[in-house]
Every structure is written in C-alpha cells, then in structure tokens.
C-alpha cells in the first residue's frame, strides 16, 4: 500500500513537471512579444523595451523558466525563493499579484460549480440509467435514451442560454425570481443564496454530462445483469429493487466512477462557456482572459491548476475504487 501510494505520488509530481515545461514552451511559441500586448496602444518602442526588460523577456529561455519557478519578476517588497509561498508560479504580468493568489481566489467558484454539477448529473444519470436498464427496450427506455442523445448533442453555449432564457428571463416576466441569471455568493456567507445562484449553471453542466453518463450506467447495468451473481441474488429471494439498486448497481458503478473523476477534472480545469454565460468569476474565465491578454504566468498557472485537478481526481478515483473493492489489493 505504501509502495503503491509512493509510486502514485511520484508519477503525479513528474506529470506536473512535464505539464509545466510543455506549458512554458507553448506560451513562448504562441506569442511573439507580450510586452507589445501589455503596453498601451501608442507606446513608444522604448516603453515596450522597458516592459520587456522588466519582465525579463530578453533573457534566455532557461533563465526565464528558472525565474518563473523560483522567484518571479523583481517586484519591490515581494518575497522571493521557492520556499516563500506564494510566488512559486511567478507574478501576473498584468495584475502584479502572485499567480497562486489569483488562482486560489477563483477556486471556490469553480469548485462549487463542479461539485454541485457532479452531484446532480451523477444522481440523475444513475437513476435514469437503472430505470432504462430495468425496462430495456420499452418506450420509457427509448424516451430516456432519446433525451440522452439530445443532451449529448446540444452544446453548452446553446443549452446554457436556453436554460437562462426560460428559467430566468421567462420566469421573471411572471414575477418569479427563483434563479438569478448571474453572480456568486460564497457558501460560507449564505448557503441558500449560494445554491440559488449556482442552480442554473449546475443544471447547464449536468445536462451536458447526463447524456454520456446515463448511457454508460445503462450499458454497464445490462452487462452486470447477465452475471451469475445476479441470478444468485434472485435465487436467494432478494427483492427485485434490491437486485437492481444494490447488487447490480454496486458492480456497475466502476466505469461510472472512473469517467466521473475525469469529467470532474475537466470542469475544475475550467468550464469556460458555463462560467461566461452565467457571469461566474472562476478559473476558466481567468484562464481564457489571461490567454487573450498574453499574461504568460497566469496561462501556465491555470494549466498547472488543471493538471493538479486531474491528478487529484485520479487519486480520488483510485481511493474510492480501493475502498469499494478491498480484495483487489491482495
């Protein structure tokens, strides 16, 4: 177990290092000179050169990587060195604040968005998937599958706008203001308002995922229902609903958990469209804005953050799988 965990951590760290180096080089290739983008429109060449110099853009790449990892640009009064949290990922060119601070300030929004959505889509997918598997071939199964395909094929920018239109705009026409169309209230401030503000984005994200997950649950259930131990459960006289929701579902969840972890990581890395439509100031918007502005350190920082989310979600999936199936260890 210790060796397994050790290996996992080693692989996670090396993954992060590789992602960091690749992200660093991509930003160098993608932009000619961020100093031009950062400078005012009519800035003189001297001014641009001054900016480039201040950001150390004239230094060779290995020094730039070193500064990025180790100290960030020279800013008066800022702590330096990798031991000094937070500037290990450098400073934003534009905002002059540590990248880590910038990202961490956006995490609560993105985390709330992702976790709420995952709960909704998993619950609905499992429910609909089991029902469809139980009534395989019936009109109900076909109806659910039809819904799944619609959910699969409608892009988020469309479903988000439609949800916003009907559940916010049309309702508000009737004087009903259940769901605000934008904004974010921290959970610690007011849990009810938190959920109310996030309801529509959650729904938008969940709708996009239910299609895949419902079909996955259904297919996995149908496979498990053919297993011998399901017949054994029936032979023991276990009630049908328990055969489905306990015996079969328990075994059918393996691929659902694995894919669920990956999808959660994708959303943590930035649900850009959803965040934009509902005006949520999350990591996704930070990433896209910094990319547009040529703010390298933030671009790399958000990439690293996405990679960290992947690593953590994989880790969580691993732990859940082991907890569900302790016998697999020996």
């Amino acid at each position: 177990m210790i060796r397994h965990t050790g290996g996992l951590i080693f692989r996670a760290l090396s993954t992060l290092l590789i992602v960091l180096v690749i992200a660093f080089f991509i930003t160098r290739i993608a932009y000619r000179n961020p100093a031009v983008m950062l400078a005012p429109r009519n800035a003189s060449q001297q001014a641009i050169d001054a900016i480039a110099h201040a950001l150390r853009l004239n230094e060779p790449w290995y020094l730039q990587l070193w500064y990025y990892l180790y100290r960030g640009p020279d800013i008066q009064g800022a702590p330096m060195g990798i031991a000094h949290w937070p500037p290990a990922l450098g400073y934003s060119f534009r905002k002059q604040t540590p990248v880590t601070d910038l990202i961490l300030s956006k995490v609560p929004v993105t985390l709330s968005l992702a976790l709420g959505a995952v709960v909704i889509w998993m619950t609905l997918s499992i429910l609909l998937g089991v029902i469809a598997a139980r009534r395989q071939g019936s009109w109900l199964d076909r109806l659910i599958s039809g819904f799944a395909y619609v959910s699969l094929s409608v892009p988020t920018f469309l479903s988000g706008i439609l949800i916003s239109y009907f559940l916010f705009f049309q309702l508000s026409n009737y004087g009903i203001f259940w769901f605000p169309s934008s904004g974010y209230v921290p959970l610690t401030e007011n849990p009810f308002e938190w959920a109310r503000h996030l309801a529509l984005p959650w729904l938008t994200l969940a709708l996009a995922e239910i299609g895949i997950f419902q079909q996955l649950v259904r297919a996995s259930m149908l496979e498990i229902l053919g297993e011998d131990y399901i017949r054994t459960a029936r032979a023991k006289g276990v009630p049908e609903w328990r055969v489905y929701y306990d015996h079969a579902l328990k075994a059918a969840l393996n691929p659902v958990i694995t894919l669920g972890g990956l999808e959660l990581a994708v959303i943590m890395g930035g649900a850009i469209v959803t965040e934009t439509i509902f005006g949520l100031d999350g990591v996704g918007r930070l990433a896209i804005n910094s990319a547009l502005e040529g703010d390298f350190p933030v671009v790399i920082g958000t990439t690293i953050f996405a990679a960290v989310s992947f690593v953590l979600c994989t880790f969580a999936v691993d732990i859940i799988t082991r907890w569900r199936d302790p016998a697999s260890q020996s």
Binding site: D228, Y229, T232, A235, K236, E240, P326, A327
Partner: protein, 548 residues
C-alpha cells in the same frame, strides 16, 4: 408426498424448444440426481421451474411446490419461496458470489431477504452458518471477500447462504464440477450431512454419473431436452436400460481407475525411447502477499523429471500444487529460480531476469493447450484465421498452402469443414477444444503441454477428446505433458504419472503401478476421493440382481 414435482415441463427460447416435456418429483429427505451433458436442458428445467430464467423464456407445464402450483405465480410470490423454501447452490462459486460484497453480507442477505432479524442476532446466525459449513475461524473470515477464499471454501459459503433459512428443498446445480477431487468429496459429504440433519430434499444436477453415485436416491438421465431414463439409483448403476445411460456410465469412472490403467494396450511407450524433455531440479517462488511484508512463497521445489519421445506423462495434483507453474515453465512462459529445462539435451530455460525469450524454432517445437477453450480462442476471429496464425508466424508458406494446411488440420482433429467460417462462440465446448488442439499441432511440435485440457468439458466429450489426443500421439509421434487434477482422465491417457503435492513430487512411475499400488499417503488420499467408490465396494443387492 413429494415436496417438489414437475410435470410435463416445456421450456422454449423464442421458437427454439429446449426442454420437451420433463417430469420428476423429489420427496423430503431424498436426493434426485439429474444427469446429462451440457445443453441437455437439466439446468434450464430447474431454473425455468423456479422462475430464474430471463423473461424471454417461455415455461409451460406444471410445477408443484409443497402442493401449490408455482408456475405462473407472480414474481413476488415466487421470490418469497426462493431462498426461504428452496435453496440454490450453483456451479462456479466465484462467478456466483458478488465480488464487492463480503461473504458475511451475502449470507446475511439470504436471511434478511425474508425475515426481520436484529443486527446482533443476524451476526450470530451468520457465524453459526459459517461454522456449520466448515469454514475455519468464522469470526476472522466473515468480513472477507469471495476472492480471498479458495474454490472449496467459496462453495461452502454458497451452501451456507442456501441453507440459511433451512429450506425444505435444495437445488444444487453442478456444485462440485469446478473443484478438486478431494474438495469435491468433502463438499459432497457436507451436503449429505446437511440433508441428514435437516431432512432436506435435494435435486443434484451433474454431468457425471460417478459424482452423484454416492449421494443420489433416484437418477434422471436427460438428453437434448428429453428424459432418457428415470429410476432408483441402484437400478441406473447396476442395470441401466437405455443405451445412452450406458454410454454415460462408460464415460464415468466409477472409482474404477486401476482396471483401465492396467490395460496393456495403453503402455506403448518403449523404455528404450530417448528423453525428449528433461527438467532438472527446478524451483520457483513468487512474492507473497504484501500484507506479509514481501514474504517469498515457494511454489515449486527441486522438481526433476523427464518426458521421453512419443510418451504421455500425466502431472496430477490439487489446485495450488504448482502443476500449472511447471507447465508455464516448460512452455517457456516463465523462468525457474533454480535448475534448468532442456529439450533434446539443449538447455533452453534457466534462471535469469525477464521472461524467457525462446527462439522461434523452439516455440513451434513446444506448444500449449489451455483449460478453457472459451477463453483461449479470440472471440472476434473466425476459426480459419485462428488456425492460419501459427503458419503465418512460423512458416513461409503462401496463402493457398496455408489454406490447404488449415483444412488438413481440421480434418485431423475430426471437425467438419464448415467450422472454418464460424466464430468460437458458435462452437460447442468440445469443438472449441478440438480447435485449440489443432492450433497446437499445426507446426508439428515434438511436445505439447496440455494444462487441464478436458476439465471444462462434459464427461462424454472428455472421452472423445482423450481418444483424439491418443490418435494424434500415435500418428504424429509427439509427446504430451498432460496436466490434470482428474485422476480418472490421467489414468486413461497417460503412460507415466507424476503426483505433485504443494510443489514437491511425492510419487512418480508407470500409471498402472502408481494407481494400482500407490505408495505415498497423498496419492492414496487422492485415489480415495474419487467418487463412485461406494458402488465398487458394495456387492450387487439381491433385488437388483433379480431385476437384471
């Protein structure tokens, strides 16, 4: 009055009838054995009668349980009888136990599905049941998962779940087929004891008349969905009326190892034949469980033997004895930790790092047949392409020549030519194993390692495959290392036999000698565990003699 009776039972899947009017009954305290090959409809009849078939199956006829008609009962009413009044034990205890639930949960569930029981009492009863079916240290094992048990222990867990509510009827569907012979004997004893303690009626399904001979009061022989013969057990064994029953009896080895093995025609290998394979002092161990702190578990110790040209050597032992590991080492799929293996005096396997890289010539010289023909053939390839592969890899023949060779091969293993365009799933178990044999002999090897090649097959199919192996040996002059836990099969086929216990050779010699006059207590124990002994010992009762 019978506790369970079936009259004119018919089962159909769509337009295909699989059971054509079967009738039988079983009384409390008695055992009815239903015997037949796979596909004879024996399991389907019982599953159909108890509502365990998928809804596509149509079941007609009459099924009386405790005097009530249960065919056509609602799913809920049937459910209340299953488990509470009818206990089930199925063949493969690994696939029949839920992999993600502890055995304690699975046994407790047999109780909670029907009764409301408090937590403490439930736990007590589960522990009692585990002790009752002979699981050592139930308290320590109750939270373990099926994978952490051996095959025999898993089957005991299945039995514990089946008897949890003390049902009046137990339906056991091939409960010992996947088990070692000594384990099989202990499971049969357990079932017999439970039956005597509780006066339970039992329906015991098997493909092997020998297995049921010690336990059955009545026997029903089925074939292709029909009842062939139905009679008290004594009559079936002493005076079978139908030719098919006699065929089954002939295939079953009713404790009669020695007589067969002693037939002189089965000892054609001349002592003057030179050694083909020589295994000298090999040892192999594997890292133990991580919980034990990386302990080394020795699997084989100081194994030495030879296989002569044109000889069939049997390697017998229970599961865990290391016999498959020997097979893997000889086939070059693994390396020994000590010792060496040579073919025609050329050493090709000795200790070292990594897998054995044996050259192409040697690879085609040593071929393997595995136990499970379902798993060892690629399900997505036609038989033609499966059989062409060895030629593509091992020879430089052109497509037309390969085609001819493949057709020859199919004829050699006595398969009809039209199997070539089918997929493995469209073949019977016996046909699939013939394909596996054809693949193994394709490149004319000098040695075939056959790892339990007939264990997954019906007893009548076993007999045919053994005959085929014997023919191939005679025609092609190859040698065979035949690995099996089934002493009956080994005694019929092998010239010499090696008995393996826990990674050590305890006895070796001519088959007739080893089975006729075993010297090691373990060999004696194995031979004693062969079912059907009781029939041999008892003289024919008078009433039967009169009947005959």
């Amino acid at each position: 009055m019978p506790i369970f009776s079936v009259a004119d039972l018919r089962v159909a899947f769509g337009a295909v009838d699989v059971v054509h009017g079967v009738s039988f009954a079983v009384e409390p305290g008695r055992t009815l054995a239903i015997v037949g090959e796979s596909g004879s409809g024996k399991s389907v009849s019982l599953l159909g009668a108890t509502g365990l078939l998928p809804p596509q199956a149509s079941v007609r006829g009459s099924v009386l349980h405790k005097g009530d008609e249960i065919l056509g009962l609602s799913a809920g009413d049937l459910r209340r009888r299953r488990g509470a009044d009818i206990g089930f034990i199925f063949q493969d205890p690994l696939s029949n136990l839920h992999p993600l639930k502890t055995i304690g949960q699975q046994i407790a569930e047999a109780i909670t599905a029907h009764r409301k029981v408090g937590r403490g009492e439930l736990r007590e009863r589960v522990l009692d049941l585990l002790a009752d079916v002979g699981i050592p240290d139930p308290l320590a094992r109750v939270n373990d998962y099926p994978r952490q048990f051996s095959g025999g222990m898993r089957q005991r867990v299945m039995i514990a779940a089946a008897i949890a509510l003390n049902p009046g009827l137990i339906i056991a569907d091939e409960p010992t087929t996947a088990l070692d012979v000594t384990v099989q004997a202990s499971i049969l004893d357990l079932l017999k004891r439970i039956q005597q303690d509780h006066g339970t009626a039992m329906i015991f399904v098997s493909h092997d008349l020998a297995v049921v001979s010690d336990i059955a009061d009545d026997v029903l022989v089925m074939r292709a969905g029909h009842v062939v013969e139905q009679a008290p057990a004594e009559l079936i064994y002493r005076a079978p009326r139908q030719a098919y029953t006699r065929e089954l009896l002939g295939a079953a080895r009713l404790g009669g190892l020695v007589a067969r093995a002693a037939r002189p025609s089965l000892l054609p290998a001349l002592p003057s034949m030179p050694d083909l394979l020589s295994v000298s002092a090999i040892a192999r161990s594997f890292a133990g469980r991580s919980a034990a702190g990386g302990l080394i578990r020795p699997v084989l110790q100081n194994i030495s033997f030879t296989v002569r040209e044109n000889e069939i050597v049997g390697l017998v032992g229970e599961s865990g004895s290391g016999k498959s590991t020997i097979g893997r080492l000889i086939a070059g799929l693994d390396r020994p930790d000590e010792g060496s293996i040579s073919l025609r005096e050329r050493i090709y396997s000795r200790p070292g790092r990594g897998g054995v890289a044996i050259d192409r010539q040697l690879r085609s010289d040593i071929q393997v047949i595995f136990q499970d023909p379902y798993a060892s053939l690629n399900p997505r390839r036609r038989i033609r392409s499966i059989l062409a592969e060895p030629f593509i890899i091992g020879t430089k023949l052109d497509a037309a020549a390969i085609r001819r060779r493949v057709e020859d091969l199919v004829r050699d293993v006595e398969l009809p030519e039209d199997v070539l365009d089918r997929f493995p799933a469209q073949l019977s178990g016996g046909q699939r194993q013939r394909v596996a044999i054809a693949r193994a002999i394709a490149l004319e090897p000098s040695l075939i390692v056959a790892d339990e090649p007939v264990s997954a097959l019906d007893i009548t199919t076993q007999a045919k495959i053994i005959k085929l192996l014997r023919t191939i040996r005679r025609q092609r002059g190859l040698s065979l290392l035949f690995i099996s836990h089934d002493l009956g099969v080994v005694s019929e086929l092998c010239d010499r036999v090696i008995v393996l216990e826990k990674g050590v050779i305890v006895e070796a010699g001519e088959t007739a000698r080893v089975f006729g006059a075993p010297r090691h207590p373990y060999t004696i124990k194995l031979i004693d565990a062969i079912p059907g002994k009781a029939l041999q010992r008892n003289p024919v009762p008078e009433r039967i003699a009169a009947h005959a």
